[in-house]
């Protein structure tokens, strides 16, 4: 056993209202710079839909993630190392900017500068890449709330997968259609295929907290990570020529604050905490043969932080005491392993993702009530799960590689919670059969309810800091801003010119300036 710590996230999809606050605040913080106009480290897509970039889930097309080789060993889906080295000169699997969308802005100046005339001046859209007038044909969220679904949603790869598996199509007619929102960030995988694809070794998984980062100084722009990630969560900055990705807001986490996307989520649906896992077991778990066994296999990799043996091993592995206690209080561990209501996104990519999701249940109550039955009675609810507007099989295609049973179990636990808590709220004696029928105790159900419904800030985010001994250095985060220049936020790339940190880039070297530290000073050191 080789215990390692991982900061992980769980999102409760039942609560996502698709407001995009997370996307916007993340963008304001990390990608409001040149070269990454089209980049959304956090995006919220509507399911069913093609997603961003379009149809990224179709690995037949993009060859992201891992697959099992003929010898049963794990290999990158894009092919052998030699094959990928030979495709360095032109990457056959790289999405084009149109697959994301061509970013645009508006010619606002025309509103004030247009000469006097009969027509009201307009602000026409111009491409943010070339500056030329453009017509907007696709956007980062073109399919919001099923916009254009009759035309596009049938080519949703998850829906296509469901059709191929079961011969069942999704309903797109107005009164039978279903939808839910899926916020996506980098999964900070246990077995990251982006890291494995990087020829320069510039991408790495941080040993202390499992956050996957790009070293901006070592990245050489080979852009293999972009295609290597099956979730398409590594992006290429076309101005700096370097890859960029979600940082899990590590500068915030290091001082115990949640990520920007979680902090600003109005639905309060995100949970962040520590997971302990056995690094030795990852490779084996990621290479189990049957795709459907990948979810249980990943569960096996997690270690129980309450187990004294695990605690001793973790301590021996150098995991700090406050990280171990944080793991014991981790809301993420509770939701994933204790209550077992969170599921991984596309485990079949074999990257062992670490942002998990509680599948949505909401419409079922409405659906049952509208037929005249009591929508929150357990018996009715359980029976209705298979008749859900959101097909269990569709959810299974997203979260369990197509196995409906774990999804059904999760939905039953959520339904049991509703029914149990309703009895308590109405002052009725709760039916003891209800918790038992989903393999839980009444206490467990109530604790899950507290975590899902009333958890306060400190319960949703249990984040140990990067070290008390460094506290005075950490304070400086409040007084310096590392994000305000092109190409340099956090991710190892510090600010460029004029900030006196002795680093510049020949392409941004301005006329008549001699940046500090560019030449060795021959004079005596002061």
């Amino acid at each position: 056993m080789r215990p390692m710590a991982q900061l992980a996230m769980v999102m409760n999809l039942d609560k996502c209202i698709g407001c995009h606050t997370c996307s916007v605040t993340c963008k304001q913080t990390w990608t409001n710079r040149g070269g990454v106009e089209y980049v959304w480290f956090n995006n919220v897509e509507t399911k069913p839909g093609q997603g961003y970039p379009r149809r990224y889930e179709d690995q037949e097309q993009w060859h992201g993630g891992w697959k099992l080789g003929r010898n049963g060993r794990l290999q990158l889906a894009a092919g052998s190392r030699i094959k990928r080295m030979l495709s360095l000169f032109a990457n056959p699997n790289l999405p084009a900017i149109e697959d994301y969308y061509e970013p645009w802005t508006y010619d606002y100046r025309n509103l004030t500068d247009a000469p006097l005339g009969d027509d009201t001046p307009t602000a026409r859209p111009v491409s943010a890449v070339t500056g030329a007038p453009t017509s907007v044909r696709w956007g980062p969220n073109w399919e919001d709330s099923l916009g254009g679904a009759p035309e596009h949603a049938a080519t949703d790869p998850v829906a296509e997968g469901m059709r191929a598996r079961l011969g069942k199509s999704i309903q797109l007619e107005y009164e039978q259609a279903f939808m839910f929102y899926l916020p996506r960030i980098c999964e900070h995988c246990l077995n990251p295929s982006c890291v494995a694809s990087c020829p320069s070794g510039a991408m790495y998984k941080r040993a202390e907290d499992g956050i996957v980062l790009v070293d901006q100084d070592r990245c050489r722009g080979w852009r293999m990570c972009v295609s290597g990630c099956p979730y398409k969560k590594v992006y290429f900055n076309h101005k700096t020529g370097k890859a960029e990705k979600c940082t899990f807001c590590y500068p915030r986490l290091e001082i115990g604050q949640p990520t920007i996307c979680a902090e600003t989520c109005v639905g309060r649906l995100r949970y962040i905490g520590v997971m302990l896992y056995d690094a030795d077991a990852v490779g084996r778990a990621a290479s189990v043969k049957d795709d459907k066994k990948l979810y249980p296999a990943q569960m096996e990799v997690f270690l129980d932080p309450h187990d004294p043996e695990v605690v001793t091993a973790a301590r021996r592995a150098g995991i700090p005491h406050d990280w171990i206690t944080a793991a014991q209080r981790s809301p993420v561990y509770s939701l994933i392993a204790e209550h077992r209501v969170a599921l991984p996104l596309h485990p079949e990519y074999r990257t062992m993702p670490m942002v998990w999701y509680i599948p949505p249940l909401s419409p079922v109550v409405e659906a049952v009530s509208s037929t005249g039955f009591d929508g929150e009675r357990a018996g009715n609810l359980f029976g209705a799960i298979d008749a859900l507007r959101i097909p269990v099989d569709y959810l299974a295609g997203l979260f369990t590689a197509g196995d409906p049973d774990p999804v059904r179990d999760v939905l039953r636990r959520l339904a049991a919670m509703r029914s149990h808590m309703r009895s308590i709220n109405l002052g009725e004696p709760p039916d003891r059969y209800v918790p038992k029928s989903v393999g839980m105790t009444a206490e467990q159900i109530e604790s899950m309810y507290r975590l899902l419904a009333v958890a306060k800030y400190a319960d949703r985010y249990v984040i140990p800091t990067a070290g008390i001994s460094r506290a005075h250095e950490l304070e400086s985060i409040g007084t310096t801003c590392s994000l305000d220049t092109d190409g340099g936020p956090g991710m190892g790339g510090a600010s460029t010119n004029g900030h006196g940190n002795g680093q510049t880039d020949l392409f941004t070297w301005r006329d008549g300036e001699r940046p500090e530290g560019m030449f060795p000073s021959l004079g005596r050191k002061r």
């Binding site: 032109a90 790289l94 494995a196 202390e208 050489r220 080979w222 250095e473």
Partner: protein, 243 residues
């Protein structure tokens, strides 16, 4: 007796080139890690790049191989191995033409792409334009001497003039007179070659030094310790004068 001009061009300039090439690369590596990238433009355009990119690079690698063989391996060695002059000439002509043609066509596609795709054109810096000019001129001149001087016009044995001059430079026994009488086009090719090497450290061509060969033997997943690199510490200085 070599003229001062020849001395300048064929002894001083080569050493200057070496100093700038090596020194410039070290300087850039130490000073500008963040600017050290291919600055790939594939995000904007894939179709042409997928033809031009591999054609140009693979052709170029053959060309580089040919230069190494032609300039560094002395004639006496190949003769001792029993390779006749005619055979060598024929092989170098045929292989050189194929490699050169691939390179030229590849580069033509890449330049056309730079020109005609608006987003790629926008991403082309002045530095790029200079690099393309010098690179293109060097390659075209090289192609010209291979096909015309060495082929159509019947052949010129650079292995008794230019190659010894080149090896003389490397062995610190420069002799300008060896190359001074080579055909004009050969000398022009060599001059543009030196200009290319002068430009190299300061252009996008530095990406060639980062050919990721270590990737072939590295473990897939890289772990790195947070160590001293907390985001909240002021970033370590990457320039020359460490505080």
């Amino acid at each position: 007796m070599t003229s001062p001009i020849d001395l300048l061009l064929w002894t001083v300039l080569p050493y200057l080139t070496i100093v700038v090439f090596v020194g410039g690369t070290v300087w850039r590596f130490k000073y500008d890690q963040f600017g050290w990238t291919t600055r790939s433009s594939q995000l904007h355009e894939s179709r042409l790049l997928r033809i031009g990119g591999p054609l140009f690079h693979l052709g170029l690698f053959m060309v580089i191989g040919g230069h190494v063989a032609g300039l560094l391996i002395p004639k006496s060695l190949t003769e001792w191995l029993g390779i006749h002059n005619e055979l060598y000439h024929l092989v170098s002509l045929v292989a050189g033409t194929i490699a050169g043609l691939a390179t030229v066509v590849g580069l033509a596609v890449l330049v056309y792409r730079r020109w005609s795709v608006p987003a790629v054109r926008k991403a082309t810096s002045n530095n790029d334009k200079l690099t393309y000019t010098v690179l293109g001129a060097t390659i075209l001149l090289g192609m010209f001497v291979t096909v015309v001087v060495n082929g159509v016009q019947g052949g010129y044995d650079y292995r008794v003039s230019i190659a010894p001059w080149f090896r003389g430079i490397l062995m610190l026994q420069p002799d300008s007179s060896l190359i001074a009488d080579a055909p004009l086009m050969y000398r022009a090719h060599a001059l543009f070659g030196m200009a290319l090497f002068l430009l190299w450290p300061f252009s996008r061509l530095v990406h060639a030094f980062s050919a990721p060969v270590r990737y072939l033997i590295r473990p897939y997943v890289v772990y790195r310790s947070r160590g001293e690199t907390l985001a909240t510490r002021s970033a370590a200085r990457r320039g020359w004068d460490q505080p």
